[in-house]
């Protein structure tokens, strides 16, 4: 009987230890930057070029994450990229003429949406669309522009 009890205690402790290790792994090592809010509202924006923006990318205002991108799709009607993202309802007073730009975190980081407040009295709400957008910077276009400028500067 003694042996059975110690076996059961040992197994129980082992499984508890394993479960706490799993729990630690799933909570402490992932999703620190993950945005999770219970109450959010969805906003849409159309871009000419979204670069490498992916879903679950953060939406930040003044550098603070206030939301997350839900989907990036191609809209066949407007022939532009349609980005749907959600913002935490706590931030309910974002002017509806704010502008959304696709920025890069750091020099080579992943891309995210940065919002800059406008001055309107009306606020963004569920289903609003942001009209002032700035596309992602495409390196080739930048280099092309630079080369053209350099060439025309050289000719003068």
């Amino acid at each position: 009987m003694q042996q059975t009890r110690s076996v059961e205690i040992g197994t129980g402790l082992f499984v508890l230890l394993g479960m706490s290790a799993l729990f630690f792994l799933t909570t402490q090592t992932t999703g620190g930057d993950g945005f999770s809010a219970d109450d959010t509202y969805e906003v849409t924006a159309f871009f000419e070029n979204v670069g490498s923006l992916k879903s679950r990318a953060p939406v930040a205002m003044s550098g603070v994450t206030i939301g997350r991108v839900n989907s990036v799709t191609f809209d066949a009607d407007t022939l532009q990229a349609k980005v749907v993202f959600e913002i935490d309802s706590v931030y309910g007073s974002i002017p509806d003429d704010s502008d959304a730009s696709i920025l890069t975190a750091g020099l080579l980081g992943s891309q995210y949406i940065g919002l800059q407040a406008g001055g309107s009295e009306d606020y963004l709400e569920e289903g609003s669309e942001i009209f002032f957008v700035q596309d992602a910077i495409v390196l080739e276009n930048l280099i092309g522009k630079f080369l053209v400028n350099a060439k025309s500067g050289g000719d003068e």
């Binding site: 082992f14 394993g18 090592t29």
Partner: protein, 257 residues
């Protein structure tokens, strides 16, 4: 020349036949598993203890040092790019996705797998399995299935413990010994590691646990019933488990990417 070809042909044929028998054996174990868990959970729990709890020492010690050496190696190489703060991220990805499941599986095969196959082989050599059959006790159900289930259930937990202690070991080396900032160590890891990585690690641990336990039980059950035969079965368990685990690791990684 002709005899060589004949030998190769018969070896290949034997391999295919053994592989088929192996699959049928697996299905047989699966068939009895639900009943064993419901009716005789005590047997399964004892085997979880034997394969899991008793392996804890080797898993924890090795986990700590694997994490420590990963921290050290990655720090040295990242320092060349002034990216030492990413040590946490790199060690976590390496441990969670690859090294945790694979090294734990190899250690498991070495400690629990050999224990299983030698125990079952000895039971076969001393006619205990035939004695059970004569008493109308199904030896597959009574002896093999609990050991198989014990291994399968214990493995994911062992992998999780190995990975966590590995991360802790890397933390000790990087933060305490190499002066990496503890905040950036954990915060960068949290940003980069996704739940899908952990799911991949857990999936691998379940697959490896099944393969390792199955091979150990199979080799023991089919051992030649002599002292030499049991020894050979034990060796084969470790060798074949190692090969199978590494091949499966590559396949699963390729599928998940």
């Amino acid at each position: 020349m002709r005899s060589l070809i004949r030998e190769i042909y018969s070896n290949a044929f034997e391999f295919v036949r053994t592989f088929g028998a192996f699959q049928l054996f697996f299905l047989r174990l699966l068939r009895h598993s639900p009943r064993m868990i419901m009716r005789r959970p005590g047997l399964v729990i004892k085997q979880i203890y034997n394969t899991g709890a008793l392996s804890l020492v080797i898993i924890m010690v090795c986990g700590f040092f694997v994490g420590a050496v990963l921290g050290l190696q990655f720090y040295t190489n990242l320092a060349k790019f002034n990216a030492e703060d990413s040590v946490g991220t790199v060690v976590a990805m390496a441990l969670i996705k690859e090294l945790g499941p694979v090294i734990t599986a190899l250690l498991f095969a070495g400690r629990a797998g050999t224990a299983l196959s030698s125990e079952i082989g000895l039971m076969k050599a001393t006619d205990q399995l035939s004695a059970m059959e004569m008493m109308a006790v199904n030896p597959v159900r009574r002896v093999l299935v609990p050991r198989f289930l014990g291994g399968v259930i214990a493995m994911p937990f062992l992998v999780a413990i190995f990975t966590c202690i590995g991360l802790f070991g890397a933390n000790v080396v990087a933060v305490d010994l190499l002066s990496v900032d503890i905040g950036s160590f954990w915060q960068q890891m949290q940003t980069t590691v996704q739940p899908s990585d952990i799911h991949e690690g857990i999936l691998k641990s379940i697959v490896f646990g099944t393969v390792a336990s199955l091979l150990a039980v199979w080799e023991g059950y089919n051992a030649i019933p002599t002292a030499e035969g049991v020894g050979r079965a034990t060796t084969r368990t470790v060798v074949i488990t190692a090969i199978a685990v590494l091949i499966l690791d590559f396949m699963i990684t390729a599928i998940m990417l």
